[in-house]
Symmetry: none
Subunit: 200 residues, 4 copies
Amino acid sequence: MTLADHAAPAPRPGRRADAERNRAAIIEAATVVFAECGGGVDVREIARRSGVGMGTLYRHFPTKDELLATVLEQQLDTWLTDAYRQAVATEDPWRALTGFFEQLLGNQAGNRAVVESYTATGGPGSACVQRCYALIDQLRVRCADAGVLRPGVTTDDLFLLSGALSQAVLTTAESHPGQWRRLLRISLDGLSSRNAEPLP
Amino acid sequence: MTLADHAAPAPRPGRRADAERNRAAIIEAATVVFAECGGGVDVREIARRSGVGMGTLYRHFPTKDELLATVLEQQLDTWLTDAYRQAVATEDPWRALTGFFEQLLGNQAGNRAVVESYTATGGPGSACVQRCYALIDQLRVRCADAGVLRPGVTTDDLFLLSGALSQAVLTTAESHPGQWRRLLRISLDGLSSRNAEPLP
Amino acid sequence: MTLADHAAPAPRPGRRADAERNRAAIIEAATVVFAECGGGVDVREIARRSGVGMGTLYRHFPTKDELLATVLEQQLDTWLTDAYRQAVATEDPWRALTGFFEQLLGNQAGNRAVVESYTATGGPGSACVQRCYALIDQLRVRCADAGVLRPGVTTDDLFLLSGALSQAVLTTAESHPGQWRRLLRISLDGLSSRNAEPLP
Amino acid sequence: MTLADHAAPAPRPGRRADAERNRAAIIEAATVVFAECGGGVDVREIARRSGVGMGTLYRHFPTKDELLATVLEQQLDTWLTDAYRQAVATEDPWRALTGFFEQLLGNQAGNRAVVESYTATGGPGSACVQRCYALIDQLRVRCADAGVLRPGVTTDDLFLLSGALSQAVLTTAESHPGQWRRLLRISLDGLSSRNAEPLP
DNA sequence: CATGAATGAGTATTCATTCAT
DNA sequence: GATGAATGAATACTCATTCAT
């Protein structure tokens, strides 16, 4: 898997320029609106902020859910790409893992819809979740090979941790921004090989 | 603070018996329904399962939110009472803290509305949150005094952790029940005084 | 089968008076509106003319289709009852059959929705269609026993004829009202035993 | 009136060839789609099956109704031409009339839009209806002159009969294909001079 | 006081038609 | 001329809350 596979906005050939611009406007507006208001917002609000009519919106995304999914996937994808880029550039396996979490979570601050989707299904859609899972798995293996990871820790554990922490990120987004970093540090310390007790 | 302050149903004087019975029935039904379906359920479903009419329901709780809050408060109150009872009965401060989390989270397994409320406001309502916060504070102090708690850990940290973990409880309720215990163990290990690095 | 089974408006016990009044108002308005505009009308129009809110309408009829079906059934039921009453009171079997058709079709003049439903499914709903079918069957047997009916004519034939003629009733409702009676007469004459050639 | 007047596609001079080809493609697709799905189909479906864009479709037919009318006219025109050809080739006036109906109705089997249009306006559009009416009139006169037609039967009667029977054709298209022929036979027998009673 | 019927603004989605490319 | 993207009013249905019985 390479970075380029996901970072590009995927310009479809033979597509009219303004259509592509509208599609982008819709996604951009939806990203903001979903993040601010959660998945329950009125579709009209998104259309309004996109500057397009309802029909246009529904031409590009045949369902509100599809739009939501697209936004979530793209959002998470961007974050994953950023986080992964930094992780591979980091020599120390443990720092790579730590940095990955920090970056991924830092991006989610205040994004209601993403966290909601974690709540509902355990992930915003299989394609993207799988990628996230795969990345975490890579990082876990590096740490395990280096002997810095607590024995018995699974990728599932790390993945679940990311979900739980994104909840914390959201909860504290307004009242105590940044407090989640303390929780992250605590959890990661619990994951270090210095804690050798078997997990339940 | 004593247990009795909160555990009793607070019988209001001059209240007809059947009114009290209705109120109890509403809360009982709402507890089940909110837990199963989340805060988004139709109020009618609650009225139906309570066996009372809509008017009665709205006489006791002028708003859906008020009913939700009441249910959450009572729910959490019960759990806190249980958890606290066990905590005070436990000599070892660390075990007391551990047991408290375990019991509190174990109760939340599958309760959609409670976790949702953590998501939305950072807590299910001030009165109850304060009590929870106070209990956690007591447990933290005991651990800190005994020197078993990582230095610098605040009550806010522990409280936020409880919220994050309830998210994990819910996420895995159906697919991987019990996996949250591993996360709890990891986090708590990160809280032990064996990890002495300062938190961010 | 007796007349009373269907003619009564079926007052449900324990039902609030105004609810029943509303239900009646809705059906009445819907009957008019569906007849005038066909099944495609906006539900709001029916609510408006009923003098009730949308919610009330949907409380009584959970679906537009259900309302439409109810109206059609009741409409047809009333007509059937009228037509049947006259038929049984008529000694001569052939006149009974003739009168039945005449009365049934005469009622349908200008009712768009009823004819539409015949178009779509071959009948406005099984319960009522079955009754209609059964009545026609009775009349057919009487005629056949009396030897006045063309041999080989089935109830299906008569039933289909009624549908085809209701189409004619509607078509000519405004431009040539009453012309359908000529068609009815022609068809019925073709059904008399004076025409003995076998049907295809 | 000759056949050639109507059967030809009326090539408009100064028209580019591909425009004419598009127009033909649209009509062809629309014919199929309207027949299958009725007049309520989405115009897009027709554009899709035509292989042309919406703009092209609306350039040729400024309105959906206009397209529908065109299709119906051409459709009926073709059928009429066929039916007429056979009618003039038939010596016996009664057989000519009978064959005309049979052929016309046989073509309509399963064509939703045509029957719908009969329902709505009493005919698919004046030009074509007039031709149909004229043909029926010719056949009626032949029969009347030969003394095989029931006295008093008008062209209006026959025309209305054709509409009523097309309803029957559609109704039974799927469940009892061919049953309409029995009804046709019955009605035509009612039209024979053997039935001499005056019509209402 | 209990009941549950009534309310009506709000929501996602469709489709005939127009217009920029 | 052709294309198909954009438009936006229209439509069926929901649900928190009120109020007549």
